[in-house]
Symmetry: C2
Subunit: 328 residues, 2 copies
């Protein structure tokens, strides 16, 4: 055990004798700060399945510019302070989920796309780097399931150069969602954010119309993974029940945006909802089911590792995050 | 986009023609399950400091055998169910904290010791592997601060072979704690768990009496890190205020064991408290301070990444975990 403070005192005294007028700069620790986060990867068993939560990163945004449509700006800002966030700022994480069923490697949702990684200075578009850090070859993914057609869920099917990120994967899309976004007749049914995002699915799927597989609610989309129609956020928005033996989890997709706002206040409308009133109905129904079932819920916009249990809390709900398991 | 299901159908048909009576086993995914957790490392900035939360792992234990001293076995078991844990089981995580102040690399608490890694099949004793995964050379650590003398905090100062794990670090111990555990006159002041653990500090510090530095509450133990006396859990138990510029965090050490039990129910006595009544007083005082200050609290036994904000909740408190930042 070296007495570091005494060693530094002596060194300081010697230095002072040589250059008495120059103040000593404090010594730097031998190890510089890492200055970056570790890869966002978290594994858990669900029956015989292995779930790997992978983060695609997170976006920061103010709430005073219409993030919550049906409350005042002041109320939204006050909520950020109540939650101990920087004033008028929320963090919206993006968390795709990888499921190894033993027979299939399945990815649910794909993030904002690797092309955003450089542009955002690594803040988002992390899925490909985190997949690689998790030891997963993107070419080994068998099935990609998309929950709905917002850019943070579908853009990641392509790399920055436009090539397919998962070239060997079957690409499964909700049939209702496909039909909605691909029909010009529906362009006038959306407004705000969705108006601006109207062309996104066509861009992403431009040459893939003949290659995607449409799936329906109530049926298995992959082994043990059954789609649940949870409309409102978008018309074809899908959640999933994942079942292996008696173990079960619910993958909510965007039944809420960040739970700190919209699970606690299920009647608040996030600006991304195509039909906010239906989204509220769906939200309450889905969380009532989760509360009754006591099933773990995985959420694309939950704080990484993006899983927890839902409790009733006053007129809303709250998320009790899972305890991080340092084993598996 | 290869149509995987069609490919498998064709392969299945071909196989069936050859061996029709043998049921097909499902194909295995090309990537086997990882079968293990990622290293538990999480970084955040606090002013100019970089904090790195490192997990040492977690222990599972039943609650029906005296974990909470002053409630019934039935009440304790019911709490595990309420929390969605396996019935009668809690997970108690161990999370040492590394602070790079820019001038010093400081470790607060050390886990159960690398010698436990193999014995526990990797469940605990992970600090050394996680430090290495974080790119930190254990020889580069300048200061090790110990909060109190329970084995899960001090045993990690040694490797499995008994040698010092941080040979170049100054080793700082609470003076009150040292005097308590090193005096035979106090042996009769403890009972239960602490009776069984009475000899632990002497074993760990056996040849280090002349090499440790005793520190006091109210003074800086390392740059920006000030000790706060939080007695009850043990007589010399210390928490810390970490301050860099205007950024501040509280490191609670063992003001509670797991917050899910003892923050929510601050009057419950964990079996590890030397003076449970004083521990309750300390707990309420410390959390009232955290609530008033709205300061982030880091807890050795919080779920990794072991940081959050404390809110009043009924007659107790609850922890609002920080949002995982995929950047830094």
């Amino acid at each position: 055990m070296i007495d570091v403070s005494r060693r530094h005192l002596l060194a300081g005294a010697a230095a002072a004798a040589l250059v008495p007028a120059v103040p000593m700069r404090p010594a730097r620790a031998a190890v510089p700060p890492a200055g970056k986060q570790v890869p966002g990867i978290y594994r858990q068993k669900l029956g015989d399945f292995e779930l790997t939560q992978l983060t695609d990163g997170a976006a920061r945004r103010p709430v005073s510019n219409g993030y919550v449509v049906n409350i005042s700006k002041e109320e939204a800002v006050a909520e950020t302070e109540k939650l101990h966030y920087p004033k008028d700022q929320v963090v919206v994480p993006f968390n795709p989920l990888l499921i190894n069923t033993g027979s299939k490697l399945v990815l649910i949702d794909t993030g904002v796309g690797a092309g955003m990684y450089e542009k955002s200075k690594g803040a988002v578009g992390q899925l490909q780097t985190n997949l690689a850090a998790a030891g997963i070859d993107r070419n080994a993914i068998d099935i990609v399931i998309l929950s709905h057609f917002h850019g943070d869920h579908i853009n990641g099917i392509r790399l920055g150069d436009g090539s397919l990120a998962f070239p060997n994967a079957e690409l499964k899309v909700p049939g209702v969602e496909w039909d909605f976004w691909m029909s010009d007749a529906n362009a006038d049914k959306v407004s705000g954010y969705n108006k601006g995002a109207w062309g996104v699915p066509r861009g992403v799927f431009k040459d893939l119309a003949g290659k995607v597989t449409k799936y329906e609610a109530g049926k298995e989309v992959a082994p043990g993974i059954t789609a649940i129609h949870t409309p409102g956020h978008t018309p074809g928005h899908m959640s999933f029940a994942v079942q292996s033996g008696s173990a079960r989890a619910l993958v909510q997709s965007d039944v809420t945006n960040i739970p700190q706002f919209f699970m606690q206040h299920p009647d608040w409308h996030v600006e991304y909802d195509v039909d906010p009133a239906m989204a509220v109905q769906t939200r309450r129904k889905f969380y009532d089911m989760a509360v009754t079932e006591k099933t773990m819920v995985i959420g694309f916009h939950f704080s990484f590792p993006a899983a927890g249990y839902v409790e009733k809390d006053g007129t809303g709900y709250r998320l009790v995050p899972i305890v991080w398991n340092p084993g598996i």
